[in-house]
Symmetry: D2
Subunit: 262 residues, 4 copies
């Protein structure tokens, strides 16, 4: 595999693992885990993390410098389109015009499920305003298509709820999204362990974004390495083309269809 | 992770991926795939592969030399304890007394499910005869314990049927076997893609053995690399200690138990 | 269980199985299957079925008379809010002011996945116009809540895609919807066999609506009977309160949480 | 469906639900639950339940008279073939020569997983001794075939461990057993709720035996009714022939095979 490039808008990346920066013990652990993950795109919750808003305080940019990583400001904690748009405009200022962002508008503080109506509205505004919008969304294939149509550069459906670690609850919907998308599809939220990341990639996703699964592992740095390998394993398996499934060696064809057939 | 050694009997290995040598296009493809897999233990079907029985014919040992790999002769194609024992004695002669072997006694040419009664009988004979027996078995936890008790150096339960690529059909039985074993537990048969291998390792298996999943991928060499990373990803995730599952971020604890509770 | 009533708006029903009327061989088979199902609510695709629009042609009302069944006109085949609203207004005229309807607005002719933006718009219009709206929707819990808030009398999330028979693909989302709803939650679409219906009811759904699973079974009338029993079985199991799951008899508690925990 | 008879040896039954009698509050609850279940075959743990061994004590036969139910003495609590054989000979005496029995030989007091070697030995002895042996077993298809070959009148593979309520963990193995069996296959152990029973029947099982799922429900009598309907629903769905699965309405064929195919 000489070259397997992930293109998001005009940008190109070698790593297909995107990571968050929340929930770590301190900035040192953040840095070590990010390094072990091999991630090139690092998402940052603008409302919770100092990237210069608070001069004099320690800044994440000290440990993850923008000349080495592609920062991806996100709107974690925003519950309306307006809030999300305002937050990302602030981020753009702080980051000298950097326009690649991750939009998320949440519907509910318990489940952190996205509010797709507000998300769609915010996406339209941001695209018109010159942002390259990567957008966190439900696994609704119609909504994913709409977000692509309004100009988002990547759609980021959940595997399961943010912080749940439940893995990919509905691979079928992901599959519909992937089959119809002309922009990268990046699973965002819900991955709990390395095999979840591998499964997402084997389904044909272009990348995986995660935070809690690494930060809340007992050993975050080792888990970051596991995730790096899990994403690569899944990607290579997808490109290699897996063997067909058969119920048993001598069986004629795919068995799974017939499971409960009378 | 400075050192994570797999001990089988008195032997030590760094790789936890064991591979077979059947179903490849030719010996060259076999060698390339084996190299990409990083495997140190290579299993060989004595009844189907020339390792010296047929002088003058190309030998697998030419491409996979015993000074570089640990050969693991196996009894694929044997349906009785007697046949299996005879086959492995022949292998020991051919390999100058090499006594590490993989026993499998099949019950049925269609499903290739093991015949556990014959397997147990053969295992007892072979252990008494000085072999280090790694044994292919069903996922019956009582049988797995018995095989350990008669002296096998590793138990190798199926994930699903040989050549099926169905993945791990019953993780619960695997879990019971792992929780009770004092010898390595190596999943043998049924792995279809990289995430299957990762899941096996995350469950706590000590290793994974596979053949068809690599040899019958569209690109076997790339799949071998995927499997190497999948096994390492799963192992590291297991050692790192994954985050707990929760139905949603604010949920009190494990959700999976309550799914269909009234 | 003396009385277990399903209330939809002001109407009360004993049966929790709702059935469609499409895809049968003829009206006779439709009638027999509906009778075997025990359903009291019968949904009818206004754009495809004659309930009086075409005088002189055979009418479904001849075999399923409105004095015996509660007809539920639906908007199958509508892809915009306007179309759906227009269709249901026509139905109300044809049925002498009958105002209980099932709204569906599809996003795509291949998947028949709902267009939730258009669905929400149509629901608002119809509620204001005096309809009792039961609404087909995705399993997005935020959207389901919004539909309840605009005044729908029941929310009807899909189990899987219309006509797919794939069963309940994401029980977790259904669970979130059920836990938050104050109107009946009725699974609509995706049920393929009797156990699917039972599972939906065990999750706590208030009812199940289906069509293809009965009409496209090899023996539709027998499958209708199976579905009746499946819904009742699941409902009674839900009310009876199932035993807790344990990995094994002597295990301390729920095992499912720990499956792949390191 | 005029007649759908379950034949076990020479005996014929209308109900396909077999129930146990342990873990109830008292004999009254046992009787009520058994009646609600519609079961005709009632299994009794000879070592734990008085059916006459202790004259003067309340006997189960008072509430479940042998002229109304077919009693099925079982060997719960036996860990060797000898113990099991001895127990069933005692039962035959107590029950005036009644020779239909359920054999179980356990391997382990924690998991209650069967010891298949001992089970097979006991089955051979009992068949030669004139018993009609229904046999609890693992889901190993080779073992199930062997038990049929030694003359058992029914094989009873576990769905999951006794008392676990985990449902059907490996439907694929059950399927192999069913496809190869010429005697009835009755799922025994592991059913937790009504949908589990329905799924077993939809797979093509001839019956389901359960105890804990009813006795340990919050409302055992209502759960018994749910189970009756669940078994009937699954049986009818099996006979009716379910619709094929498709990922979406317009999809060409079975989707499940392609899930993670590259």
């Amino acid at each position: 595999m000489s070259k397997d490039i992930l293109k998001i808008g005009a940008r190109e990346f070698s790593s297909r693992l995107l990571v968050g920066t929340g929930k770590y013990r301190d900035f040192d652990e953040t840095r070590e885990a990010v390094e072990a993950s091999g991630a090139e795109i690092i998402t940052v919750a603008i409302r919770r993390t100092n990237i210069g808003q608070e001069p004099g305080q320690p800044s994440l940019l000290d440990v993850l410098p923008p000349d080495r990583y592609t920062l991806l400001p996100n709107t974690a904690g925003c519950y309306t389109a307006d809030d999300a748009v305002r937050t990302l405009r602030l981020a753009r200022e702080l980051l000298d015009g950097h326009n690649l962002v991750k939009l998320e508008v949440l519907g509910d503080a318990d489940t952190l499920f996205p509010d797709m109506t507000q998300t769609l509205a915010a996406a339209e505004t941001l695209v018109k305003d010159g942002f390259d919008v990567m957008v966190y969304c439900s696994d609704d294939p119609i909504m994913a298509k709409r977000l692509e149509e309004v100009g988002c550069v990547a759609v980021m459906p959940l595997a399961s709820l943010i912080g749940s670690g439940m893995g990919i609850l509905n691979p079928w919907n992901l599959r519909l999204i992937i089959d119809n998308a002309r922009v990268p599809v990046i699973v965002d939220a819900g991955v709990g362990t390395a095999s979840d990341a591998a499964i997402a990639m084997e389904l044909g996703c272009d990348g995986v974004l995660m935070n809690t699964a690494i930060a809340r592992a007992q050993n975050p740095v080792l888990m970051a390495s596991a995730m790096k390998k899990g994403v690569e394993a899944g990607r290579e398996a997808f490109l290699a083309g897996r063997m067909p499934r058969k119920l048993y060696s001598g069986a004629p064809s795919s068995p799974t269809s017939g499971l409960i057939t009378g």
